[in-house]
């Protein structure tokens, strides 16, 4: 149950965390969010990150997503040490390799679903025509054809989450990070979203890292990593670790 499974790094991993710590603040007020994480993620994996709030899973996601850098330890993405990159270099990494499904969707308000999905392509410099075609295709993948011109306010929560997923996959990222993708949804909708993610992982080979606190949702993943107090508590293939 409490067995800590350390995966041996072989340098070929897509994502490689070694002794990663994250400390917020200094001195007495210092908050140790991560106390030394070792984690490797292979291409094509579908990882569920679980753990109580404050266990460091969100911080870890931010570091994995190149939104934040570790205080100590190394994070290698495709062999590149992210901690040594500048802010703009990390932005480029996100732009070209990573997709995000944020908690609470985080779509642009008063902006159509299509425009929301097109956004990451705009920053990639994709020409308008191609952009539109790819965005429409992504919306179709998440089953939202016909809803392109609707703004988030005119869509249900499940639909908004689908738009968020479409936005994340439209760039065909190497890794898709999903932070509580079913957090606000009822069971039926949650299952639809999970089936969608599962399909993307299975059919398109997109590596998925998903934070969730629902065991039902984690059950869809190939591998489950549990965090506790800033450390990896358990890590194992689905069904074996628990």
């Amino acid at each position: 149950m409490n067995m800590i499974v350390l995966r041996q790094m072989d340098g070929q991993s897509l994502i490689e965390l070694q002794g990663v710590t994250k400390v917020y603040g200094t001195g007495q007020a210092a908050m140790h969010a991560l106390r030394g994480i070792d984690l490797g993620i292979e291409e094509g994996d579908f990882l569920a990150v679980m753990g109580p709030s404050g266990s460091g899973k969100s911080t870890c996601m931010h570091i994995l997503g190149c939104l934040d850098t570790p205080t100590a330890g190394t994070y290698k993405f495709k062999g590149i040490e992210v901690g040594k990159l500048t802010r703009n270099q990390r932005t480029r990494l996100r732009r070209f390799y990573l997709g995000f499904v944020f908690q609470g969707y985080n779509l642009l308000n008063r902006t159509s679903a299509l425009e929301n999905v097109e956004l990451p392509l705009i920053y990639r410099g994709v020409p308008a025509g191609v952009r539109r075609a790819r965005a429409l295709q992504a919306l179709e993948t998440v089953g939202l054809n016909g809803w392109e011109s609707h703004t988030p306010g005119e869509l249900s929560e499940g639909q908004q989450q689908r738009v968020a997923i479409a936005r994340a996959i439209v760039t065909e990222p190497a890794v898709l990070f999903a932070d509580e993708p079913t957090g606000n949804l009822d069971t039926a909708r949650s299952r639809e979203i999970m089936d969608l993610l599962n399909g993307l992982n299975r059919d398109q080979g997109i590596t998925i890292v998903m934070v969730t606190h629902e065991p039902d949702m984690a059950a869809y993943a190939k591998r489950i990593v549990r965090f506790l107090d800033g450390l990896v508590e358990s890590d194992g293939q689905n069904g074996r670790a628990t």
């Binding site: 939104l67 703009n88 932005t91 996100r94 732009r95 944020f102 985080n106 920053y123 410099g125």
Partner: protein, 403 residues
């Protein structure tokens, strides 16, 4: 890289979403640009008008007045001119075409139950030539009327309108204080003077009548002289100066206790004053442009705070700092340029209207329009930069958490 054009489109879409706020934001710029252009345009029109009036006045008018040259204490110990001085100038200075004595004061003119406060001027027939006036109907003063100080007058267009309405004034009698005088002539309308005075608000009576019945002394306030065409004005000016020094028994060491002014100089001074005033007013208006810029900064800062999440999303999914900076900067510039454009349209409309009301010509000044527009765009860059930088520097994680 994000193309500039798509950034502009993005900015336009963003501004369209917040039409009301956008309008309020640019109000300062609109007013600033509008005020500057209006001031400069009207000021330019006024300058042109002054120049036109100088041209119509002729450049050969001299004005001889008692007292030292414009300056403090000029009125102390003035020895007034007399009719003899007028005659001496006409007689002795060869380059002079006409000489007119002028004494005047403001008096209530009464006809029937109408009354009107007007400028009553005592002079002679030369006055009409010197001041470029002509008699529309009736006649000039006769020699005997001038000599005897007869109770006759020639009225200006404004006085006719105010006192007589549609009635023919010729032969009617108007009362000026205790003097009841017959209207023998009507002057052609002349319009406003350079100083904005109504030149038609005038009643001319013979100088002798004025001296005897109104001022009660033999003084002549000023002497107006027109120089013969082709004769050099400065020579006439010097001749008159020498003559007057002699007549006033001034020793070579004494300063002039009178003043011979070339109207050209006065006109030049007036043009200068008009231009200075225009520059001053424009400077004040330019300050409002600055205030407009601060308004833009204010709203942009609010906008950045309001859109923190949006900025977080953009940064997280791959917008570079420079792209976010550019987005907000372009937004600010588009806003302020819009303000500039609206300001220009308003200013030109207002200028045309004001030019009509103030009776100055409307002179379109392309230079100031271009400058004001460029300045408004620059205001956007300058005051948009700080908020844009603030947006670009946001931490995407923090920004995404922002509610």
């Amino acid at each position: 890289m994000l193309m500039l054009w798509s950034t502009v489109l993005l900015a336009l879409r963003e501004l369209k979403r917040n039409v009301m706020r956008s309008i309020l934001t640019i109000l300062g710029i609109v007013i600033g640009v509008g005020a500057v252009i209006t001031m400069v345009t009207i000021g330019g029109g006024a300058t042109v008008q002054v120049r036109q009036q100088i041209a119509s006045m002729g450049s050969n008018l001299l004005m001889v007045s008692p007292g030292k040259r414009l300056g403090p204490g000029q009125s102390s110990g003035n020895i007034p001119f007399k009719q003899a001085d007028v005659e001496a100038i006409a007689r002795e200075v060869s380059s002079v075409a006409s000489v007119a004595p002028v004494s005047s004061q403001s008096i209530q003119a009464v006809f029937g139950n109408q009354n009107w406060s007007t400028q009553v001027t005592g002079s002679n027939n030369q006055y009409f030539r010197v001041t470029n006036r002509s008699i529309r109907s009736g006649r000039q003063f006769s020699d005997s009327e001038l000599r005897a100080g007869a109770a006759v007058c020639i009225v200006g267009e404004t006085v006719r309108k105010k006192l007589f309405g549609g009635q023919d004034p010729l032969g009617e009698k108007i009362r000026l204080q205790k003097l009841s005088c017959e209207v023998i002539g009507l002057l052609e309308g002349k319009g406003q003077s350079t100083m904005g005075m109504d030149q038609d608000d005038i009643v001319v009576i013979p100088l002798s009548t004025y001296q005897r019945r109104i001022s009660g002394n033999q003084d002549v306030a000023i002497i107006q002289v027109s120089v013969r065409d082709g004769a050099p004005t400065d020579k006439a000016q010097r001749d008159i100066q020498l003559l007057m020094r002699e007549r006033r028994h001034l020793s070579p060491s004494d300063d002039d206790n009178f003043n011979v002014m070339d109207m050209k100089e006065i006109a030049k001074m007036l043009t200068g004053t008009t231009q200075l005033l225009t520059a001053l007013l424009s400077a004040v208006a330019a300050v409002s442009l600055l205030v407009g810029g601060i308004g833009i900064m204010n709203i942009m800062l609010v906008s950045v705070t309001e859109r923190t999440r949006e900025i977080g999303i953009r940064l997280a999914i791959g917008a570079l700092e420079s792209e976010v900076l550019m987005q907000f900067l372009v937004e600010a510039v588009v806003l302020s340029s819009f303000g500039g454009l609206i300001g220009i349209v308003l200013a030109l409309t207002a200028s045309v209207w004001l030019a009509g009301v103030l009776r100055v010509p409307f002179v379109f000044n392309a230079g100031i329009v271009v400058i004001a527009f460029l300045f408004s765009a620059a205001v956007g860059v300058i005051f948009g930069y700080f908020p844009a930088l603030k947006a670009a520097r946001l931490d995407p994680i923090e920004a995404l958490r922002h509610e």
